[in-house]
Structure formats: structure tokens, C-alpha cells
Symmetry: C2
Subunit: 287 residues, 2 copies
């Protein structure tokens, strides 16, 4: 059996970004500036570094990044007001709120406030709900990244059997919803699933979002399957050094799978690219 | 093998309604009137009869039914204004809009406007989206009815294998989402599914929402399975008379299944009961 084709998240993201650069230019030619308004409440050094990297990713495709920094003591009402102002501002077409918000702020309540058409992270439940109801919408970025990576292989999703390992609210359930929308036969498993190995072995498309290193071994992957690894696990390697691995035993599974996404360099970079794409899409839809 | 236990939708609905009558009394004792505000735009004789029956169902548990009738020529803006007024009115805790709306009104846009906390039919996508995100919410009534009927059997959903036949936006997908939330292993099938019979045979819980008479035959139902029939099909019987049947070959499957819901008298009456329960829940939550 030939080795699996690697689904290179960095290369795919670069292709997406090239296309976005062109779309941003087209908008600019019409006098439209593409901007992402991000709200950061408090936040440690890591959060600020993250925001800085996000600004850089935006800048690379011509998106302006406007960071709205609020005090770590900002109240629910103050954050609410900031969101409502951004919702009403016609110059703002894309809004995101950095998580986590300091306690005791109710983060869900804040996310629900973001105007559906400006919610480029897809955290307002109306956006994934629209997908359940079969409507066009801004899709949560990680789930969208998974779908794009599957589509990049050219394997037809409609009629294929897709197994989602893990049913988390952030990844597993939204991915299952998107795959249903794409007319796959979708199997959603969780920690209580019986005969999970048999189900995984039957998968044409296997998405793992369980957060368990080496959960997906070669013997549970069908020959030629598409394997997407959404796990991000920090482990200590044999050399005593910390590193990031996914849920898939990559070196073994690459001999069985037809296509496989690595960690790092897989879903991660594509998720960032999907945020940028949603941002451009929101600007195009509004203008 | 003993015959399956019938999941009697009318009897279950009656039990639900008894409990609701008590909850309505408790609210009234606190001076709170429970009301369902329904918007009917145009509508033929059938639509008015439907509304009248709904009023009767509400009245039976002590819920006031206020019908807002609008001209069949009402514009998008006029219907929007009616919804926004109801959203803002503190005396209104439950809102529903009768479908279909006359063309060219955009029904989805109207449904998205209904305040999430007052949306007792669960048609605002934010409500099913909240379920995807693992939050408490007002659940679409038919999907909720299916879950309640499964729960009525006492069969544990967590860890069981649930197969949803049909992935419609109205029933199949929302039911799959609810079953994921209940920690079942969920298999969503559609017309493109390969080896669908094998999947159905593996189901501890089989929900059919395909709209195909006699799709579910005895040979695809596991001994002892819970079978919920959401199909509503009008057929001409051997006697030349029209009648309503589900997707399940009831007379054969009842010898295989452990529990089975009939059509009529199954999901239908429970769906009405769930609308009433959502209405009471909305009044309790708001007050």
C-alpha cells in the first residue's frame, strides 16, 4: 500500500490566503475597506501575543485588524455595549471576541449578541443553527476547516460514511452537522460508544476530535480513508521534550489512510485561514 | 418474541398536559397569565381551522391563545413590525408564526426575528444552535417529541446506538443533534447512504423521518429496538380509502421491536404537547 497523501494545512491555508488577497483587492477597488474588529477583555501576555499574531495574519491578506481592548474589570453591561455599538456601526462588518472572558462575565450571552452576519467565528448559535436548517451561514472556523480539508482531497462527501470521533460542542457536533449538510452518512461517537473500533474501521472519512494522543491507530483506519486530525495534545516525548501531537498515530496510520492531515500543520493553520475567509465573506455580503 | 410495547402518543401527551395544567395553575397563583401569541398571515380555511384547534389545545391546559391575524397582502416590513412589537411586549412570553407565509415573504427572515426566549416552536436557528453548543434552549417541537417518546420507554439513550433515517432540516437533523446531546452514538442516514439496511439493523433506537410508507420493514429492525415513526404519508388503502400512515410497516415491525410508536397517535399529538410545554417553560423562565 502506498503512503497516504498528506493534507498539508499550511499549503492549503496559503492557497486560501492568495485567493483572499485578490478578493480584498477587488473590494478595495470598490472603495471598501475589509476590517476585523476584535474585542479583547483583560488578557495576559499570551492573549496579547495571540492577538498580535492574528493582526499579522489579517495584514498579510490586506485585512485591517482593529483591536478593542477593555479592562479586565469590564462589566457584562460594558462588554454588551461594545458589541452593540459594533453591531450598529456600518463600517464594521466582522466582529470577534477573544476567549476566555474574565469571570464572572457570561461569555455565551456575549457571543449570542454578535450580529449573525458579522459573527465571523460562528460563535452565535444562530449561525450553526442556520446550517442545521439548511441555510447559508457563517460557519464555526474549526468545523469549516475540517470540511475544506476533506474537500481538498477530491473524495466525494455525499454518500460517503463519515465518522466523527468525539462529540464536543466546539468541534465534534458542528463537524457532524456540516457533514450531514454535505449529505454524508454521519456517525457521531463519544466516550460511551460501544464497538467504536468497528465504526471507525467502516469510515471513508474519519475525523478525530477526542483530545487523546494515539487514539486512532492503524488497525481502526480503513485502507484509503481520509483521516482528519483535530486533536491538539501537549505531551512529553521520549526525548523528554514537550511537543504537540494530535489524536492520530501519524507514523503508523499514514501507511493505511489514503489522505491524512498532520498535527501540527493541519487543521490549525486552516482554521486561521477560515476566520480570514469568513471576514472577507462578511464584507462582500454586507457591501 | 412478545409484541412490542406501543408508545402511545395520545396517552403521553395527556400526561404531559396534566402536568402543564398544574404548572399553569402555579403561575396563575402568582398572578401570571400564560399566553401564546400566534401570528397568522392570510391563510385559507384549513389554516384557520388549525389555529382554532391550537386555541382549543391551549385552553385545555389553561393557556390563553391570542391570534394576531394579518392580511394576506401584509408586507415583510409589516410582519417584521408585528414580531418586533411582540418581542418587546413584556406581557408576551411565547410567540409562534403560522407557516406557510404568503409569497414573496421571506419566512426564514421572520423566524430569525422571534426573540430566542419567546420562540416556543424553536424555529429561530439560535435555539437549535444552542443545543449544538450544549446549552439549555427551547427545542423544535417535533424533535423534542421524538426525544420524549424515546425517554418514555426507560431505555437509556446514553451509549445506545441511534439511527436517524432521513436528514431533513425540519426533523432528521434536529433529532440527530438532540440525540448527540443525549450522548447516544448517532448515525444520520439519507437517500445516498450505502448499506443503510445494515445500519438500521444495528440500531437500539431507530427514528424514521423519511416520508416513505413501509420503508422500515421487520427485517431491518433489531429485536427489542425502540422505533419512533415520524413519517406522515397519505396513501390510498386496499379499500380505496385515503388514510395516514408512517414510514414503518407497523403490523410487521411490532413483532420485532421492543417499543414502537404508531401513526396516527404517535409523534403528532406529542408535538402539540411539546409546543404547550415550551409555552409554559417560556412563561416560567421569564417570570
Amino acid at each position: 500500500m502506498a503512503e497516504a497523501t498528506i493534507i498539508d494545512g499550511r499549503a492549503l491555508a496559503a492557497t486560501v490566503k492568495d485567493a483572499l488577497t485578490e478578493r480584498v483587492h477587488q473590494l478595495q477597488a470598490k472603495g471598501i475597506n475589509v476590517r476585523l474588529d476584535a474585542v479583547l477583555v483583560g488578557g495576559d501576555q499570551g492573549a496579547h501575543l495571540y492577538a498580535k499574531n492574528q493582526a499579522k495574519a489579517c495584514s498579510a491578506v490586506g485585512i485591517e485588524y482593529m483591536l478593542h481592548e477593555m479592562s479586565e474589570n469590564a462589566s457584562q453591561a460594558e462588554i454588551t455595549n461594545t458589541i452593540l455599538e459594533l453591531n450598529e456601526n456600518n463600517n464594521v462588518t466582522a466582529i470577534m471576541v477573544h476567549m476566555p472572558l474574565p469571570s464572572p462575565v457570561d461569555a455565551s450571552a456575549i457571543q449570542m449578541l454578535i450580529a449573525v452576519a458579522k459573527d465571523v467565528e460562528g460563535v452565535n448559535p444562530a449561525n450553526i443553527g442556520n446550517i442545521v436548517f439548511g441555510r447559508r451561514s457563517l460557519v464555526p472556523c474549526t468545523a469549516l476547516a475540517v470540511l475544506e480539508m476533506i474537500e481538498s482531497t477530491g473524495v466525494e462527501i455525499r454518500g460517503s460514511r463519515a465518522v466523527c470521533v468525539g462529540a464536543s460542542t466546539i468541534v465534534g457536533k458542528p463537524v457532524a452537522v456540516l457533514l450531514m449538510q454535505a449529505e454524508a452518512t454521519v456517525i457521531s461517537t463519544n466516550i460511551h460508544t460501544k464497538n467504536c473500533d468497528d465504526l471507525m474501521r467502516s469510515a471513508d472519512i474519519l475525523v478525530s476530535a477526542a483530545g487523546v494522543p494515539k487514539l486512532i491507530t492503524a488497525d481502526v483506519v480503513k485502507d484509503g480513508a481520509v483521516v482528519i486530525d483535530v486533536g491538539i495534545n501537549r505531551i512529553v516525548g521520549d526525548d523528554g521534550k514537550k511537543r504537540t501531537v494530535g489524536d492520530v498515530d501519524f507514523s503508523a496510520v499514514k501507511n493505511t489512510a489514503g489522505y491524512i492531515s498532520p498535527v501540527p500543520g493541519g487543521v490549525g493553520p486552516m482554521t486561521v485561514a477560515m476566520l480570514l475567509r469568513n471576514t472577507v465573506q462578511a464584507a462582500e455580503t454586507t457591501n
